[in-house]
Symmetry: C2
Subunit: 329 residues, 2 copies
């Protein structure tokens, strides 16, 4: 058995810089036709010069693979002129509440104050991508942010708002309520719960932000994905950290799935008898909603066991060493 | 400011064997007058010969400190004769559901079947100590076991049942309902929530079973402790693992607090204006409920900053390196 995916897209990806970029960007470019590149570097990608340099570095690291990095700017108080000039170079602007995740220290301190720049995005037709968590109790952080999404969905009806890496049944319910709300979901939040992170031994390689939630949350995410919810797309949030930052006291947040996401999700779509919906989830929805045309690329998945490598260079992937039923053909 | 504690007791302690026992037992003996010693060794302490050898090894490791190891047997299908012979050597029998925590593989596979031996404990007046978790979702495991406690509290009204290391508000509410239900609570469950384990960076040194729960759970535990709930005692569940088993992929469950528990909890009792209740929580309740007379020992806590060591030998304690306001005088 095999499946052919046309131009699969990863709508939420961390590529880092320097040696790590060189190591991981080719792994995404191998099986994806494009990816939305997160701007939370140090310093953040918050001006057009930095963005162009970063994009050039990405292109340089992937060689001649057909792969489009859809760039994002880190949200700050941009002028309308800055946004207008940036518009043709970006797929959206990413909002981080200050201090809420990796390299988000320079993020938004006041969500209310951010509405000034958000209104500009709406006027200019630039999507707003959001890391939607508060600093509440770890299991409540996303649910606690949903009020903000709801307020903005109503206040900015023409703005495309993307709830990035949703993890809860409550977020899926909210997604259903507003046509201008969109969402991405990761491999790991479709496959694991907090049980896998901390139910047996503690597994640092499955630790990420937002943290994996309850079984009923995972079930709601899977249902939305396998039924090809029209405003939900795959976004891996694949986030490489060197081994030394994961297996230690004070493990960094992030799961690395870029080279194995497509294989892992094939099993899920198959198990639900929904392989026909896989194309929409990993490409068609995104092309339609973000109005993008990625490079043409066909990826064949075959039902042939594949053992996830123990590491890609210095980066340990999710489920390292595990045998899974689907491989890249 | 200082507080004098008479014969403080740790009603739930892991001492291990061999070199680890030699390393950690003196640390408990220094500030505690006695401790309830857990039997989940490999192989488990499930016969009198093994128990006597283990007790001798504990005495040998603590030198001439006044410290009483209150021994427990690992629950299996004991005969009445075995229990009768063991009775004068033990403070209770510890039930582990099979496979639920460290070294519990030989535990009880059927809780219903275990009622035969539990009935014998009731007839002989031997307390039943329980690791009360099911294999439900990690945040629900204790709450899911409470029905079992309730059933046994009613079915065995003369049996002293100790809900070990409780972590939830629901367990506190159940404790209030049955006179034959008792409980222990650890330092860490009084001081942390899941936020501290996985809310910022992942902290393997705060990972234990049961896992730390929600803020409202911690609040209920603190209220019960500082108000000296008459059937609640301190039990550290201090569980040393070598560094190599904690800061790695697949971190073992257990927090090491034996040498710092008394200092840490002084701050909590002080913050609630309840220092007068500290004696009941760390000794008097246990002496009365378990009918024990530990060796006389007076421990003085002084309000003088103390920096928690980065490690005790190869074992990293909770909050290593942090400065806390109380020290042993």
């Amino acid at each position: 058995m095999e499946i052919k995916l046309k131009s699969p897209l990863d709508m939420h990806l961390h590529l880092r810089e320097g040696a790590m970029l060189e190591a991981v960007a080719p792994l995404s470019a191998e099986t994806f036709s494009g990816a939305v590149i997160m701007p939370n570097l140090v310093p953040p990608v918050d001006n057009l010069d930095r963005l162009k340099e970063y994009r050039a570095a990405i292109y340089s690291s992937i060689g001649d693979e057909a792969f489009c990095p859809f760039m994002t700017l880190f949200l700050r108080d941009y002028t309308e002129e800055e946004l207008l000039e940036a518009k043709e170079h970006i797929i959206g602007v990413k909002l981080y509440p200050a201090g809420i995740t990796t390299n988000s220290e320079g993020g938004v301190a006041s969500l209310d104050a951010a509405e000034v720049v958000i209104a500009k995005l709406e006027r200019l037709g630039i999507p707003l991508l959001v890391h939607g968590e508060t600093n509440a109790f770890v299991m409540d952080r996303e649910a606690d942010f949903l009020d903000v999404y709801e307020r903005w969905a109503q206040k900015f009806p023409k703005l495309m708002i993307v709830m990035e890496h949703i993890t809860t049944a409550a977020a899926v319910r909210l997604l259903d309520r507003f046509e201008n709300l969109h969402a991405t979901v990761t491999v790991q939040h479709l496959l694991i719960t907090l049980d896998d992170v901390a139910g047996g031994m503690l597994d640092p390689h499955l630790f990420c932000k937002p943290i994996a939630k309850r079984p009923e949350d995972r079930e709601a995410l899977v249902n939305a994905a396998v039924n090809a919810h029209p405003r939900l797309s795959f976004g891996s949030d694949s986030a490489p950290h060197p081994l030394s930052k994961k297996e230690c006291c004070g493990c960094a947040a992030g799961v690395f799935t870029a080279p194995i996401g497509l294989q892992l999700m094939a099993e899920m779509f198959e198990a639900h008898g929904k392989l026909d919906n896989y194309q929409a989830f990993v490409s068609d929805n995104a092309c339609r909603n973000y109005k993008i045309t990625p490079p043409e690329k066909e990826v064949t998945l075959v039902k042939k066991p594949f053992t996830i490598p123990k590491a890609y260079g210095d980066v340990v992937p999710m489920w390292a060493g595990r045998e899974i039923p689907w491989s890249i053909g």
